[in-house]
């Protein structure tokens, strides 16, 4: 365990140094991140502009969900997807061999290869939107509420990660993958809306199969005390299941790997 921790620090340092070489990128991405923040808020604003509540959710409550969406997207684009894309490239070129022969777990190595540090700005934007929403709600969250929301956020990040590992595992079978990632992103986009707008089929799909409701609506509800503890426990259990499934599939996929170039 300790070995993996030091290994993680090494990987982190290497990826940070690589990305800090491109300083112009940092500035441009910072500006873009602000632009996107405004853009993220627009659709929700356009809906709630017409009505004080939609499906029982007021604008600040929906903004809280949006905050989690922005935050998680920051994690996805900053920490998860760069590594995923690098791995897909490895598989395509057959250079994954060099990762596989290293004396450490391959999944660990491929998921910590690359980082885009400027996405930290997205995390700040998410927190800022959350604080704004809470102030509009006149709600000061209790320490226990914050704790539950925090645990659920970790669970959401784990689920995002698990899903990305599933996508990478698919790359062992289908080689052209940029469109699978594009599909994943466009589905995740639905996570910006509070759960109440999804009914029937959508509710089931987005809770149990692609759990984007669990990722953004649950932590937001936990923060305002609207989520039952039992539901939160189930969400954490679900996250563990997803991680386990993704691990299993990764193992199967890697067994399926036949180096492309040799």
């Amino acid at each position: 365990m300790k070995r993996y921790f030091t290994l993680w620090l090494v990987q982190l340092r290497a990826s940070l140094q690589t990305s800090l070489q491109y300083r112009v990128d940092f500035v441009v991405s910072g500006a873009m991140s602000l632009f996107w923040l405004v853009w993220q808020i627009m659709p929700a604003w356009m809906v709630w502009r017409l009505r004080p509540t939609v499906a029982g959710w007021t604008m600040p409550e929906a903004a809280l969900v949006l905050a989690w969406f922005i935050f998680l997207r920051g994690i996805l684009e900053g920490a998860v997807q760069p590594s995923i894309l690098a791995t897909v490239e490895h598989i395509r070129k057959g250079t994954l061999d060099f990762v596989l022969i290293k004396p450490a777990d391959a999944q660990f190595l491929v998921s910590t290869t690359k980082l885009e540090p400027w996405h930290v700005l997205d995390l700040f934007s998410g927190v800022a939107v959350a604080i704004f929403a809470l102030s509009r709600l006149h709600h000061t969250p209790h320490a226990s509420e914050i704790a539950v929301a925090f645990v659920l956020t970790l669970a959401s990040a784990a689920m995002l990660y698990a899903f990305s590992i599933l996508v990478v595992s698919a790359a062992f079978w289908v080689v052209r993958l940029d469109n699978l990632i594009y599909l994943f992103n466009s589905v995740f986009d639905a996570a910006r809306w509070p759960m109440a707008v999804f009914t029937g089929f959508w509710r089931i799909l987005f809770t149990f199969i692609i759990p984007i409701i669990v990722m953004t609506s649950y932590p937001a509800m936990a923060l305002t005390g609207a989520l039952r503890l039992r539901t939160a426990a189930f969400a954490v259990l679900g996250a563990i299941t997803f991680v386990a499934i993704s691990r299993m599939l990764w193992k199967r996929a890697i067994g399926h790997y036949t180096s492309a170039s040799s």
């Binding site: 809906v47 466009s186 639905a190 109440a196 959508w202």
Partner: protein, 266 residues
């Protein structure tokens, strides 16, 4: 020149169709990634459940977003990804060797996908006709022809923009960031997420001037029978004007920048 193109083009279309069928799994993924209108329909239905907004009730929202889905599925273009990959991997050099203009070849590939897209889209269209009220269907055959023309206009405009950003890959390393920026503008201003009729008045006026509306909103509005004949003709003229402008800019941009191509790794 034109005669030669006319001779080659049908063959290119056949090849493109065969390719689309061969890569049907990938094709399906692209189609699936364009299903956002269904999510938006869920959201707006939640809004309309408590009463109509700005003249939109549940029925009209259903018609609007199913039409949006149809327009997107049939006219969306992903040539940008293809072009960026070809520049990055150097395989563009293969294309340059062929005795046909690469842009024409790309356009054939894109057009050839339409029958397969239609195969996916016809069930959506039938479903839309069954579940929405006749008020949102086309009854006038002239408007019907306008709708067909609007589909082709939207395709041409989509293709030209997508290919323009793809061409920029010759100039910038990461033209995918430009594409993201474009998509951001498109999602908001085209009526893809929110119908332009429900925009705040000022933004609505801006959206009507920008080209994005002519990719989505205008074909959708013709399809859902919101325009009179004169309005439809007028909007169609603007759309085709934009498409012509887009294609001209595309050719110009390509001619200027193709010299930069250095076939990395090709």
């Amino acid at each position: 020149m034109i005669q030669r193109v006319l001779k080659i083009y049908p063959t290119l279309l056949r090849i493109g169709f065969a390719e689309a069928v061969a890569y049907r799994a990938e094709f399906l993924v692209w189609m699936l990634s364009m299903t956002l209108p269904l999510v938006m329909l869920a959201i707006w239905s939640a809004v309309a459940r408590e009463g109509a907004v700005g003249g939109f009730d549940t029925d009209r929202f259903t018609a609007y977003y199913l039409a949006t889905l149809l327009v997107r599925q049939l006219t969306g273009s992903w040539v940008v990804w293809e072009m960026i990959r070809e520049v990055r991997e150097g395989t563009l050099s293969m294309r340059l060797l062929r005795p046909i203009h690469p842009l024409l070849a790309h356009s054939a590939e894109s057009l050839a996908g339409i029958p397969l897209r239609a195969a996916f889209s016809i069930p959506i269209a039938i479903g839309a006709l069954l579940i929405t009220s006749p008020a949102h269907h086309i009854h006038d055959p002239v408007i019907g022809l306008c709708a067909v023309a609007a589909f082709f206009g939207a395709w041409a405009l989509n293709f030209s923009i997508s290919a323009m950003v793809g061409t920029l890959a010759l100039v910038f390393e990461s033209s995918i960031a430009i594409w993201d920026l474009y998509l951001g503008m498109f999602f908001l201003f085209s009526g893809y997420l929110v119908p332009i009729a429900l925009f705040p008045p000022m933004m609505g006026k801006i959206a009507r001037v920008l080209p994005f509306a002519y990719l989505q909103s205008v074909p959708v509005e013709i399809l859902t029978n919101t325009f009179s004949r004169t309005q439809a003709f007028e909007q169609l003229a603007i759309q085709w004007g934009y498409a012509a402008l887009g294609l001209t800019c595309l050719v110009f941009l390509w001619q200027r920048n193709i010299k930069r191509f250095a076939a990395y790794g090709g």
